[in-house]
C-alpha cells in the first residue's frame, strides 16, 4: 500500500474497480442467499482487515483474488454448508444460482445460473481455477494467485475444465 494512501479511500476505489471479484467469488462459493450475504460480508471484512498487509508487490486485483479465494475456502471449510464431495453426476440442470443479477442478459442468464451451479459442485481448488480462468486471467496471473507454476496451472485447469464440461453436459444441449 502506498504510504500516503488513505486506507478508506483506497478501499473504496478498489471496491469500485474490483467489486466484480467479490461478487463472483461469493456466487461461486455460496449457494443460498443467506450464505452469500454472510460470505460477501466476510470477504469485505477480510479485505479491509488485510489492507494494511498489502505491500504493493502484486497487482491489486491479484491481491484481492488471493484474499477473497483464501477467505472463501476457509469459510467453506469452517461451515457445515459445504457440499460433501465433487459429484460428476450432480444434476446441474435443476440447480440455479439464486443470486443471479436481473441485469444479466436474458439469453446468458440461464447459462450463467447453470455455470454458477456447476462451479459450486466442483472441488474447492477447481472452483478457484475455473473462476480465474473464466475471468480471462493468464496462466502467469493464475500461478501468482494459486502458488502453482504455469505448467501445473495448465494441467490442473484442463482437469477442472473437463469436470466442469461434464457437469454442464446436457445443460448446454438444452440451451442450444
Amino acid at each position: 500500500m502506498s504510504p500516503t494512501a488513505d486506507p478508506a479511500s483506497l478501499f473504496r476505489s478498489w471496491l469500485e474497480d474490483h467489486r466484480g471479484i467479490v461478487v463472483k467469488v461469493t456466487r461461486s462459493f455460496a449457494a443460498a442467499p443467506a450464505d452469500a450475504a454472510d460470505l460477501e460480508q466476510e470477504l469485505l471484512l477480510q479485505l479491509w482487515t488485510s489492507l494494511s498487509s498489502f505491500a504493493g508487490q502484486a497487482k491489486p486485483s491479484t491481491w484481492i483474488y488471493r484474499v477473497c479465494l483464501n477467505t472463501a475456502l476457509t469459510w467453506r471449510r469452517g461451515t457445515a454448508r459445504r457440499a460433501q464431495h465433487f459429484d460428476p453426476a450432480a444434476d446441474v440442470a435443476r440447480c440455479a444460482a439464486p443470486t443471479a443479477s436481473p441485469a444479466d442478459q436474458a439469453g446468458d442468464r440461464e447459462l450463467l445460473e447453470k455455470l454458477y451451479a456447476a462451479i459450486q459442485s466442483l472441488p474447492d481448488f477447481d472452483r478457484a481455477l475455473v473462476l480465474l480462468s473464466l475471468d480471462g486471467l493468464a496462466y502467469r496471473e493464475i500461478a501468482d494467485i494459486t502458488g502453482l507454476n504455469e505448467n501445473q496451472v495448465g494441467v490442473a485447469l484442463t482437469r477442472a475444465r473437463q469436470r466442469l464440461a461434464r457437469l454442464m453436459k446436457g445443460v448446454t444441449d438444452e440451451l442450444e
Binding site: 478508506a8 478501499f11 473504496r12 471496491l15 467489486r19 466484480g20 461478487v23 463472483k24 469485505l44 471484512l45 477480510q46 479491509w48 482487515t49 488485510s50 498487509s53 498489502f54 502484486a58 491481491w63 488471493r66 484474499v67 479465494l69 483464501n70 477467505t71 475456502l73 443470486t99 443479477s101 436481473p102 441485469a103 444479466d104 442478459q105 446468458d108 447459462l111 450463467l112 455455470l115 472441488p123 474447492d124 481448488f125 478457484a128 480462468s133 473464466l134 475471468d135 480471462g136 501468482d144 494467485i145 494459486t146 502458488g147 502453482l148 501445473q152 494441467v155 490442473a156 484442463t158 482437469r159 475444465r161 473437463q162 466442469l164 464440461a165 454442464m168 448446454t172 440451451l175 442450444e176
Partner: protein, 224 residues
C-alpha cells in the same frame, strides 16, 4: 457450447451493483471481532500459564511446609513449569507460522497440511510432553510425602490407621485407580480428536493437494 462461450457469458455478466460497502459498519465489526479475539486469546493463554503456575505454587507451598526434606518436590515443580513452557512455546510457534490471507492458495494449503500434521503429532504424543511430566510430578510429590510421613509419623500411627482404614483406602484408591483413569481419559480423548477431527481433515486436504498437483497422465488414466 464450449469453454469460450462460457467465458464470454461469464465476462459479460451484469454484476449486481449492490450497496456500497459500509466502511463504518466494517470498521465496527472489525473492532468488535478484534477485541473479542484478543480477549479470547488472552484468557486462553493466561489460563494455560496460570494453571501451571498455580500448581507449581501449591507444590512450592507443600515443599515449604515440609522443609529441606521435601527437596524432590523441586523436580516436580520443574516438570509442571516445563508443561506450561510447552504450551507457551506452542502458542509462539503458531503465531510465527501464521500466514496472511493474501498468501498464494497452494502455500496456504500446504501450511494447513503441515499444521495438521504437527497437531496430530502433538496429540498422539501427549503422553510425552503433558501426561508423563504431570504424572511424574504427582508421583514425586506423593513419594516425598509418603517418605516424610513414614519418617515423622508417631510410633502408633500405622496401628491406628489399621483401626480406621477408610481414609487410607480412599487415598490408595485415588492414587491407584482415579489418577490413572484420569490420565488415560485425557490420552483417549486426544486420540479420539485425532481420529475424528484431524485425520479426516488431513486426508481431505492431502487428497486436494494430490489432485491439484497430479500430473496430466494420472488424470488421463483416472478419467478413462
Amino acid at each position: 457450447m464450449n469453454w469460450n462461450d462460457y467465458a464470454s457469458a461469464w465476462q459479460s455478466q451484469g454484476l449486481p451493483a449492490g450497496a456500497p460497502a459500509d466502511l463504518t459498519a466494517l470498521r465496527q465489526t472489525f473492532e468488535t471481532r478484534r477485541r473479542k479475539l484478543a480477549v479470547t486469546l488472552l484468557v486462553r493463554d493466561l489460563a494455560e500459564t496460570a494453571a501451571g503456575l498455580l500448581v507449581a505454587a501449591v507444590f512450592a507451598c507443600v515443599w515449604w511446609h515440609l522443609g529441606r526434606e521435601g527437596w524432590p518436590i523441586a523436580l516436580a515443580i520443574l516438570l509442571i513449569l516445563g508443561v506450561s513452557g510447552c504450551f507457551v512455546r506452542e502458542r509462539l510457534r503458531t503465531r510465527r507460522h501464521r500466514l496472511g490471507p493474501d498468501a498464494p492458495l497452494l502455500v496456504r494449503l500446504e501450511a494447513e497440511i503441515a499444521e495438521l500434521h504437527h497437531q496430530r503429532r502433538l496429540l498422539l504424543h501427549v503422553w510425552s510432553w503433558y501426561l508423563a511430566p504431570c504424572a511424574g510430578a504427582i508421583v514425586i510429590l506423593l513419594a516425598t510425602l509418603g517418605r516424610i510421613l513414614v519418617r515423622r509419623a508417631p510410633p502408633d500411627f500405622f496401628s491406628r490407621l489399621g483401626e480406621h482404614p477408610a481414609p487410607a483406602a480412599g487415598i490408595v484408591i485415588y492414587i491407584v485407580i482415579v489418577l490413572p483413569l484420569f490420565f488415560w481419559g485425557i490420552w483417549a480423548l486426544n486420540r479420539r480428536a485425532v481420529r475424528q477431527r484431524i485425520e479426516p481433515r488431513l486426508a481431505e486436504l492431502e487428497q486436494l493437494h494430490r489432485d491439484v498437483l497430479a500430473p496430466a497422465t494420472d488424470h488421463a488414466a483416472s478419467s478413462r
